[in-house]
Symmetry: D2
Amino acid sequence: MDYLQILREIEQEISPLKNEGEVASYIPQLQKVNPDHFGICLQFLNNDCFGLGHCDKAFSIQSISKVFSVTMVYSMLGEMLWQRVGVEPSGTAFNSLVQLEYEKGIPRNPFMNAGALVVCDILCEHFDQPKDELLKFVRHLAGDQSIDFNIEVALSERDAGYKNIAMANFLKAYGNLHNKPSKVLETYFFMCSIEMSCRQLAQSFLFYAQHGQGKSLYPLTESQGKRLNALMQTCGFYDEAGEFSFKVGLPGKSGVGGGIVAIYPKKYSVAVWSPRLNKKGNSVLGLKALELLTSKSGLSIF
Amino acid sequence: MDYLQILREIEQEISPLKNEGEVASYIPQLQKVNPDHFGICLQFLNNDCFGLGHCDKAFSIQSISKVFSVTMVYSMLGEMLWQRVGVEPSGTAFNSLVQLEYEKGIPRNPFMNAGALVVCDILCEHFDQPKDELLKFVRHLAGDQSIDFNIEVALSERDAGYKNIAMANFLKAYGNLHNKPSKVLETYFFMCSIEMSCRQLAQSFLFYAQHGQGKSLYPLTESQGKRLNALMQTCGFYDEAGEFSFKVGLPGKSGVGGGIVAIYPKKYSVAVWSPRLNKKGNSVLGLKALELLTSKSGLSIF
Amino acid sequence: MDYLQILREIEQEISPLKNEGEVASYIPQLQKVNPDHFGICLQFLNNDCFGLGHCDKAFSIQSISKVFSVTMVYSMLGEMLWQRVGVEPSGTAFNSLVQLEYEKGIPRNPFMNAGALVVCDILCEHFDQPKDELLKFVRHLAGDQSIDFNIEVALSERDAGYKNIAMANFLKAYGNLHNKPSKVLETYFFMCSIEMSCRQLAQSFLFYAQHGQGKSLYPLTESQGKRLNALMQTCGFYDEAGEFSFKVGLPGKSGVGGGIVAIYPKKYSVAVWSPRLNKKGNSVLGLKALELLTSKSGLSIF
Amino acid sequence: MDYLQILREIEQEISPLKNEGEVASYIPQLQKVNPDHFGICLQFLNNDCFGLGHCDKAFSIQSISKVFSVTMVYSMLGEMLWQRVGVEPSGTAFNSLVQLEYEKGIPRNPFMNAGALVVCDILCEHFDQPKDELLKFVRHLAGDQSIDFNIEVALSERDAGYKNIAMANFLKAYGNLHNKPSKVLETYFFMCSIEMSCRQLAQSFLFYAQHGQGKSLYPLTESQGKRLNALMQTCGFYDEAGEFSFKVGLPGKSGVGGGIVAIYPKKYSVAVWSPRLNKKGNSVLGLKALELLTSKSGLSIF
């Protein structure tokens, strides 16, 4: 199959949608991005790699980072992890406090903000410098020491992220944070501020395409690797996980910076980026591009 | 791989759990079943078939029937179907009215009771005898004309199914039923009362393992077939879809009669049955057996 | 105080609002009313009575009837009644199923539709012809044998009242209806269809102004009479009970037919009617008229 | 009427309940109280005053303080106040975030924690030292300069009050706090830590029995005074306002320190204190004592 040709077709076919959606605006730093950028990078396990557009431009990966942090704690704690966070889709908006209240402080999954805060709390329990440890892991996965936090974004989230501050204190009230909310939040905000390009993301997600096997600072068993992929499938897209499964048919994770990464187990990873988001917080062009990719290649997992 | 050997190992390894869970009790007819029965049938696309235990004994398929009915209306309406029912996991118990109220009468997916009622309403719009048309389709898929409703179960649900009656009237209040609630409910109750064996279920689900391709009264396009599989993956297990994806890693559907069917695309279908249910309404032994099957065979989709 | 003069001032001062709001439209029969009608009747315990406008024209009293039915069952069961229905404001829209689900089938108070259905169920347990018994009580309280059901309205509600049908079946599912939902619903729909004028309502509510004392088919103790008034104060106006207490300061009950009745204990009762409703289902002119009445007379209970 | 005799009878009649309920335990300082204390003080507008038991012992007034703070902002802002906080009962537990989320950051009433935080925010907008200004007002109302904060309690709440911290940040996220959450919270925690005796509370609530008339640092119009009383009636007892109206029939306010104050307009105020609370957070003996008081004196407002 001529994958570069497929990517070119995709780039053309999505262009009618290019003005749809809005760039995330809840912090000013995220609005500074050029809304018209689009990049995609398809990386095969056999090392073939196909990139297009702004596939080498770093952007704010935001919630995609939650995959990295949950990998670390899953590797360290094993199945014990699931006593503090669930594996079920939420069925509500990603920052909802409602469900957390009904379910007594156990977040439904580690990709909701509340669940990611619990994951960050576990990192704080195990490391003196949790955010540095996380960055080390990400750089290792991507094989690129230039990856870094955007401190301006992190500080901006800290100053404006009232819902996340509320959430952390709420979790603390239910006893599901063991560290001070402010410490957990700092780790969380820095984690979300990591900047990577499509190429770096695709490279780092090969780890998941291989079921977390191979050399890694935080290795997973094959079963754990599959389970993490299943979790991305059912919970990786806020309240749009069903739609993504339905139309794209791959496990993946999105972020409000406009990035989406997905994998086809044993075969490839793919990262796409475009800043304009739909109402549910996912990249409009990114979703469409991945839908076209699995249609054209016939490679969905279903 | 020696699949029969694998099934035998599974049968042994699940036996410590054999007294866990409770048989569904909301209607007396479902309680009459022998709680100790266990059957499993693994059916490959190449016609290899491996069965064990009570794999030829018919049981009440209950919610598994929702896969058949949604297939019919998806085949007839195409993507228009999704204007009346969503494709997202619910995040709440399967018979919850709460979400329906917040979302103005559009059920989150066709496998929740509310969504299945909308599907039955569409069957009522298109057929004079919707339940007979459904039975014809099921018999055709399974290649077995002996499959039938259990009228006693259907009537019993009609007399005791107050939550479903409430739900149908609630949908009607929101304008998302076009027929009389009583007519839609009759179709629904008969649909759920269909009795099939593991072997018959496995046979009929080959259709989904082939992406709805091949001769069928209600054919699907390949894309539609994949999408239906994705829907089973994210929504097929009430409020335990995440857990099932996580542990089993196959698209499937369960019913309160204790049956579960799952498929591995392009390869096999598998049906398992055991009447004792966990708190979320899924068969205890069935879940464990499928978890062991994908572990032992290494064949999850992730 | 010159009460007739006060009523005349009120009539003038409310006129700027006369086109605000919408007549209830969920059944066609309620829409047939002249939206511009306005009537008010102030009835003192000493028999002084002041009426104005369409104060002798009968209208559909709808939910006001719930005061009469709860009086009957409170008189018969005493404090045992509160095992099946609560005395707390709902904090949600009057026909919400949500709270009922969280609270396992015990409605928050007898003035919500769900609570009134439980009350009707109790009437069905005690009487062969519950709706006739209710009508007898209402005629007795008002001293007027001409009061009657509007059968057209009752049948229309039966055919279109899907939310109420849903609610009754939901209560049945939780075991809090002892009769068939259809029987309870018939009583409920007929109860709501009673037609009375402001004068008849004011007359019948003298019973509550006297704390349910005096000759009555269903007498209350003084304590019960006060408690029923307290219940009207906290729960009588759907999700606007706080607002009504705040602005009017009297116990009362409204209906979607546009009627409102209120009492000043030991002194008077007042009924007002105007069909245009605000978004919360209460009469726009009725609310304003009562607010002006307590302001001008200085007679709120607070 | 011999009110002292009535109080003595009440003291005896409540004694069978004296071991029921639990002292508030969410902060250690509140647990240090002697759980067996009981005091009551009945203060008439004509200056007659009847006290019993520990009626001169100061205790933590907690949420009762919310009446004082809302009085100040109502006096300053008038009806504009209700743009930022509602006047409806909540229908949910007093610290619920759920309703706040559905209603976009406008708390249902100023006696819920969220509503009181908005009130404290307004105090912070108007005063450099809001908590000192509040204390000055309370001392003035009670005519007693010895009233003070319990700094230990205030600091303890600040360190452990995660739900309130969550709530403040949540309100900030919705734009309904104009100051920094930490500043508003400090005011809130100090406000709740005020200690007063039953006698001091009864004295200070004469202001409300007089509809906020008379000399005051923060005077209310008569209409405002009545409205504030109405608000206490419908919202003063967390999720037990209906029950309190039903059984006691007076406007009032309770606190988790075990205090309750109520008023009979134009006649008297009454404060009662006993630390053991029922499941809804109200004093067991306090509720019973007030129920007996209105029964024995025949003086409920209904």
